[in-house]
Symmetry: C2
Amino acid sequence: MPVFKAEKLHRVGMAIFQGAGASESEAKQVMELLIEANLVGHDSHGVIRIPTYIDLVLKGKTKLGAKIEVVRESPTTALVNGNWGLGQIVARQTMNLAIEKARENDVGIVSTFNCNHIGRMADYALMAVEQDMIGYCCVNATPQVVPFGGMQRMFNQSPLGWAIPAGEEPPFVLDISASVSAGGKIAVARAKGEKLPPGYIIDKDGNPSTDPEDYYRGGAGLPMGGPVGYKGFGLAMVVDITAGILSGRGAAYLGGERGQGVFQMAINIGAFRPISEFKKEMDDLLRAVKNSKVAPGFKEILLPGEPERRTKQQRLVEGIDVPQRTWDELVQTGKKVSLDINEYT
Amino acid sequence: MPVFKAEKLHRVGMAIFQGAGASESEAKQVMELLIEANLVGHDSHGVIRIPTYIDLVLKGKTKLGAKIEVVRESPTTALVNGNWGLGQIVARQTMNLAIEKARENDVGIVSTFNCNHIGRMADYALMAVEQDMIGYCCVNATPQVVPFGGMQRMFNQSPLGWAIPAGEEPPFVLDISASVSAGGKIAVARAKGEKLPPGYIIDKDGNPSTDPEDYYRGGAGLPMGGPVGYKGFGLAMVVDITAGILSGRGAAYLGGERGQGVFQMAINIGAFRPISEFKKEMDDLLRAVKNSKVAPGFKEILLPGEPERRTKQQRLVEGIDVPQRTWDELVQTGKKVSLDINEYT
């Protein structure tokens, strides 16, 4: 597999997006988040997405240069029409809007429709952390996960992200889905020809399966929780409703062509506690958890966000492995916009 | 086991609380929620709590007639000192405060410390639903659950509740914990001498156990998710931070004597969508999920809140089974406040 330093891969992506007509600023905003996903180890949300994003641009479904439109607004809330701009660009603007509202009024909630794939939830939640706020972001999208006890795809994986500032410690970052597995992990197992762990998916007849192919042959993902999967199911519904129905995107089961419905929230910590006290207690908690006793069979307790920070340190030095198939697709995508991307590596 | 109609059990509880010095209004507010918990089938949060509540009153740790105190406030937020009033009374007032703020400013968040056990999260979330709002409530409390990969009690079960209005359908209600099992379910298994399902708890050495006694012999509860238990762990941390650190109660690991830290939020749906459209889409979603294809091994898809509604219908007619041991404790508690509770049945 070709290995690239982040800067090189960034340059390749910049060239492709600009080749497709994106402004330098648009290309940069999207590429920063895609490369960040690769760096932290979530390759499913990294440069592997470029071919799809560019195809949508070339088909005119993603509108370059689109301006977001605030449809309805109050000092604490906004409903935003994303006008089918690049998802990352829309979601950065809407998160900034939530943050501005929280700066003025302590809480900001922004709900967005007509929005393309925005990538990882943590990226937006972390924007609030930089302002000493608690950040939250969730989306609904294509239905791929069944209700607890069901076998029909009704909900998206229902990703949700929280970020909360600490003092000397890195911020708390949680980026999970309400399903057992993100869709990307199933795709990775399929690409590698590997089995999935039990409990991730069912086949088209509703029976448990460990074969990722079954997921693509009419099967579906399961809500998290295993025997208490009604919990993951319930959380998926909360995500579906707050991101999908509140925004007007519509619930996930109505179909994937509606893009992503987005719910973003920023909460000003200073409205409740002096930020220095809050951060001190965050440090204490993070350290207490990290240093608490490890169970048999585990080497250490990994805080949410810790695996990602480690992978990033490593990949910043060693570079990002791009699977040959992904690289070939990037080469093809380059050709579509009349580029030889090898010139940019 | 003695079986009582809800009204009788309510009368017994009223007598005990008033016998301990509570005003009629205080007794009524607490008893309504305890009886509601019994009616919907969550006996762990029903009249079984009365002896503990009364003991705290008699010891002076719970202050009857306490007034909540708003320590810090903005149009959208409040930090509240519960002054150790009865938890249900404090949490009703603080949720009402969140709702008032959401009525004026579309979002209200109230964070509360010095608060006793407030009971079920759904009760408060549902208060928002009556005002066409989305309601959310979570608390932290005594540490009883380990981090993923850990064996030390660091987090509470971390209960959280969401309620969202529908139109013709009953509202969406989710009341879950971020751990596999609520503490009450472990207590019930212990009382019945039954084994727990695998994956609920570990023993004092950090090994998996199905013996509920192990939980009380230095063991602990596990975060939800099984092999992806880092998800339940992450959600527990969010609850611990938003309910515990934001309120000043402190994180769960600091100990149980700090009571419950409470985070309550109300979001005005009308700020985003016309409420009639929102409710119509909620009905559509709830019906689509309910009527979606059932997986092998399941009889039907149960919506969040549906088991509770069914149990309530049944118990309103058939009455509430009170285990003999619980009844005996209620009799003893009655004696402490110079009452023969049998006179009230």
